[in-house]
Amino acid sequence: MTVAIVDYGSGNLRSAAKAFERAAADAPGRPRVEVTADAAALTRARHIVLPGVGAFVDCMTGLSRLPGMVEALRERAEAGVPLLGICVGMQLMATTGEEHGVHAGLGWVPGRVVPIPSAGGELRIPHMGWNEVEPCREHPVLAGIASGTHAYFVHSYTMVPDDPGDVLAVTDYGGRISAVIGRDNVLGTQFHPEKSQRVGLALISRFLAWRP
């Protein structure tokens, strides 16, 4: 069994791959981390990671260019395979993204991706740096993230799920914005666990141990 990190040409996957390799070395069954652009590789994955940096539409276009990848992801998500989206990878799970026009997302977690409300121009955008994560629902992958734990964020858009129950944790940047979203076996972090030092590595470890 493997941990598949989907490579659709979005930015640098090296640090994500290295962080998952580090965590996988101690995970049950020591799964192999596979960075892949091949939809068929998802069938042997016990965990799937959807990374993403850059603009929503560019990421969605990149993903759609891989033959069969969107369908394979959907099929695996429906089959109950644990799936983690990171940053724009999380945002892609929404119904629509409103960066450079309105674009369709994967639609796994109903909701929209909108600009961070800039509180009358008071806020610096992007929201870049370490901010506190406030869990608002219990979730096995978030166990151990105490209120006020810091994680590394860098984004200009935020995901607003239609059902507030899909928001598992928030952060405060001119108001409460989504930090972690999730529904069933699908999970997404707006922050970068692979850049959040030991807090992030611990979250990755819990994701790899997660059997939803």
């Binding site: 640098n12 940096v53 955008i125 992007p126 870049m128 370490w130 590394y152 200009s156 850049k195």
Partner: protein, 252 residues
């Protein structure tokens, strides 16, 4: 709330650190990866590598240092120095950099920043600005390590670069760099007020109070320093404790 970032910077030449922390337990004090690990363990919020390798042929040494650092330090890494083409950026990102900083190449061709931001996203494009005071309220952009004036007004330049898609401004006062006299607060304030993207203050840190002033008086989102950390004058942890005591919110 979002915390002020403390960012140690390492000067890297031919894949080796030029100045380095002199800790006895270091196997190789000139290895940027070892230095990065120390800063990581001390709680640095990000790392910055400034490549000052003179010859282009030795550039692979930088990619190797970035690659090895990214394998061991799970924190944001910005790499600058000699970034001139989209391919330079691509290679650094693939090696494991999270952000690249562009300086001279942006002055030569401002559209380069827009192209890079479109290609890779604003979140990974930092524009480094080296500025010098030219009068009571004027600041000019310099290139080539502060040796070459451009006649470009620093504040207008920062606005233009943010407009071109820079996700962050790394602002260095060439008057203060290496002096230990503190950030140029007037310059920092002017730039921080002019743009909406994060601004990192750099150049001149000699005491921990300077870090506090950069955030509180200068309005910087983060503070970058080299010497006070390199020479072991202060640890990152000491810097953060001092800032916290002065009322600046930092990540513990």
């Amino acid at each position: 709330m979002l915390k002020a970032r403390v960012i140690p910077c390492l000067d890297v030449k031919d894949g080796r650190t030029v100045k380095g922390v002199n800790f006895v337990d270091l196997v190789d004090a000139g290895d940027p990866v070892e230095q990065a690990r120390i800063y990581d363990a001390q709680g640095a919020d990000e790392l910055c590598f400034l490549d000052i390798t003179a010859s282009h042929e030795n550039r692979d040494t930088l990619f190797d240092a970035v690659k090895r650092t990214a394998e061991q330090c799970f924190m944001p890494l910005t790499v600058g120095g000699g970034v001139r083409t989209v391919d330079d950026i691509r290679r650094l990102l693939i090696a494991g950099a999270d952000k690249v900083s562009i300086n001279t190449a942006a002055v030569h061709r401002p559209e380069f920043v827009a192209e890079a931001a479109r290609k890779f996203g604003s979140q990974c494009i930092v524009v480094a600005i080296d500025a010098k005071a030219t009068g009571p309220d004027g600041f000019e952009i310099f290139t080539h390590g502060g040796r070459r004036g451009t006649g470009i007004d620093a504040i207008a330049w920062a606005e233009r670069m943010a407009g071109n898609g820079a996700g962050e401004i790394l602002l260095t006062s060439m008057d203060r760099d290496g002096t230990g006299a503190g950030f140029d607060i007037a310059l920092t304030r002017r730039i921080a007020d002019a743009v909406k993207v994060p601004v990192i203050a750099s150049g001149g840190v000699g005491t921990l109070d300077h870090l506090v002033a950069g955030v509180r008086e200068g309005g910087a989102t983060g503070v970058l320093a080299a010497s006070i950390f390199h020479f072991g004058t202060h640890t990152i942890a000491e810097a953060k404790a001092h800032m916290a005591q002065a009322g600046v919110a930092v990540r513990p």
